[in-house]
Symmetry: C2
Subunit: 432 residues, 2 copies
């Protein structure tokens, strides 16, 4: 029985989408005003533009600029119903999704839940490290950073002060590179002025990566250039460095070395955010899907984006599934929408093939790296390309406008405007 | 013993200011780079521009636009030290202030803690009503408003739906008038589009005021015009309506009538946010001060702004103390700074006399009321004056810029951009 007050279907089949990220939104767009009923469920009432979360964490942007109300996204979609709630379990034998706000029946179910931070089972790390997958988590990092500086100002203990002024970012992918670069700029242009009582030369920023290079999905030259940029900005880049323990004060590495730091930002791994009821289809932390994004063992349950892995396809480029990036989710969402309409009209579906447009990462002002197949460039032009692309991808004209104003302001003034501790962050052990 | 790691004074006397609101900031400005050491303590690391809090609560502005980092305010003030922490108790016999981050000695202590919501001892009301004195509280109102609409969409119970779609604002001062007006605009221009499943004609907005008029501190014509504006916008203005009980579902009034509503915004009263240790000087919820803002019974403890009442002055206009508005706090802060410097130089201090520049309140787009002594005007021109004055008063060029962009955008698009539930609000009884 449905309890979400969705209009009863007469002839229209119902597509239930879990998650309003890049994949879920694109899918809803593909089904817009077609002869299906679409119900999109998300735990938040907004779409998060995850590529810019790190700028929220480092006080460059307001959360409101990179998040967009889902109801506004779907304005004028006569067949799309949004509900805010959390998916709890799939009852595939009854075609029912159990959620925090009630049960809903589906004809087609699409898991588009994205990914969650992966601590690889290290519980102590999970309790003490900061993830950066959501607006709340990014705001927690911003608060902790500022709280650490406030405490550093008032402590009389030099050891504690050094710990508070040391920031360790783990993970050499785009998020880790962008975050450590943004911290270096914050140090140079903002914190120095805000905390004249502190000797900012004591502030240390580390970027740790387990493999011997940065930006593993990109070209060698991009990875090397990122190291150069970061080192020139004063970031200590440690390659081949594997974190074993973190108790909130000391980062312990496998080779026996250690860094005293009260802030560890974990950007070293994500796992698909799968859902109870589909355990049999999970492999390597993602849901196994065929080339039509059908979850293994089901005809009417699909998974798209980060949560899905398509390992058995003829596409030899990605033997373990596609990279967990926005373009994959968007392309899968759009194609699945078309395929659902094709199935309904008894037409042949089209298998998914990823069109890789290239990748990019930014390090700091005037500094970015871009790979577009064999065209590779770095520096100012790459940085402008990065800015432009992210502005284009942001949902909504207002957000583009506000982000542009912020970026121009930050660029000209060397400032970061949004350094407020709106809700102080408390560690788990302090909450008890 | 000091434990805040403030440089030890040699010859400079120390002025400790509690609170970085309008009064505290103006006082620090008056003492800037003079031969005194200033320590300013605030529980937040930012100054809040309270007159625009209602726009945060009604999704018009981001919190970051109306708050400003205190460290940035004091950039280049060589003698001002900021500490984030909460004042706990004044130990006047030892000239020590006890705070959440340690103790600090003072030569002069200034209480500039502003005001807190006054529920007049009604515990049940306090547990269920929403205050609007801080950024967190304003964000809670925004979240509750949006959560109520989400729940109204999915409930099958018409009674519950009506309760969720009814908003009661209590208090006919500027905050109440501005909030209920903003809710009416949100209904007309935004919620209708966001919730096509709901019949928005069911949404009801009430403004309750205990006395028989609105904007009691302003002219009769301003009060009457505000009623006209609000009624034309669809707000039910109930004058002479006194709230007795509120359990989170039903607003019970003294005359026996009742309104079913799950949201009550309480803007009906504030009391001075006084501090333990000065109990003897409290009268009618504010600290009694003389015309130099000295707290009754002390020579080196002062109070300025909302928390202070100056009842025994020759100024017959304000027998119960000055109105609790920003200009009073700012003028008292500036004068006290000058007077402290005068005392230090053995000069005569100057008694405080409030220069009332007039008052204004806005109701909605193109609608405001302004009283400047006997010059009174309402409507579009008053609204432009309100906008201009608030932009001028906002601290910081970046905030002026972002607020302007938001206002222009909201005006042209009839939109409110920031309707995110970043952290869902939970009532006290739900938190247990």
């Amino acid at each position: 029985m449905d309890t979400l007050n969705i209009p009863t279907r007469t002839t229209q089949p119902r597509v239930v989408i879990i998650g309003g990220g890049f994949g879920g939104v694109k899918l809803a767009f593909a089904l817009k005003n077609h002869d299906v009923q679409v119900v999109l469920l998300d735990r938040n009432n907004y779409h998060t533009f995850q590529p810019l979360l790190y700028q929220v964490a480092t006080a460059g942007l307001e959360p409101d600029s990179i998040a967009y109300p889902l109801r506004k996204v779907f304005k004028g979609f006569r067949n799309v119903f949004f509900r805010m709630g959390e998916a709890l379990r799939v009852h595939s034998e009854r075609n029912v999704l159990e959620t925090s706000i009630g049960d809903i029946e589906y004809d087609y179910l699409v898991i588009a839940t994205g990914s969650k931070t992966n601590f690889f089972g290290m519980k102590e790390l999970e309790d003490n490290a900061m993830g950066m997958k959501s607006v709340s988590e990014a705001l927690n990092i911003r608060s902790l950073l500022l709280q650490s500086f406030e405490e550093a100002t008032r402590t009389n203990d030099p050891k504690r002060r050094q710990e508070l002024m040391t920031f360790v970012v783990v993970g050499g992918g785009p998020t880790g590179v962008e975050t450590s670069g943004a911290l270096a700029e914050l140090k140079k242009h903002v914190l120095q002025k805000d905390y004249p009582e502190l000797d900012l030369r004591l502030m240390r920023i580390y970027l740790l990566e387990a493999v011997p290079r940065l930006l593993n999905g990109m070209s060698d030259v991009a990875g090397r250039k990122a190291v150069d940029f970061l080192q020139a900005m004063g970031v200590n880049v440690l390659l081949g460095a594997q974190v074993e323990h973190y108790d909130g004060n000391t980062v312990q590495m496998q080779d026996g070395s250690a860094i005293a730091s009260s802030t560890l930002i974990w950007a070293a791994g994500v796992a698909g955010a799968d859902i109870p009821g589909l355990e049999d289809a999970v492999g390597r932390g993602r849901l196994k899907v065929d080339e039509y994004n059908r979850v293994a063992g089901f005809q009417n349950i699909f998974a798209i984006g980060d949560v899905a892995a398509m390992p058995d396809t003829p596409d030899v480029r990605y033997p373990n599934g596609h990279p967990m990036v926005a373009p994959v989710a968007m392309q899968q969402g759009t194609l699945l929408g078309k395929n659902i309409l094709r199935w309904l009209q008894k037409q042949e579906p089209e298998p998914f093939r990823y069109f890789d447009k290239g990748s990019m990462a930014t390090v700091g002002r005037n500094k970015a790296v871009v790979d577009i197949h064999n065209v590779r460039f770095q520096g100012w032009f790459a940085w402008v390309a990065w800015l432009g692309l992210h502005l284009i991808m942001l949902v909504g004209f207002r957000n583009k406008l506000i982000v542009t104003v912020n970026w121009v302001w930050n660029y000209l003034s060397y400032d970061r405007g949004t350094r407020l501790i709106v809700r102080p962050f408390r560690r788990k052990k302090e909450q008890l």
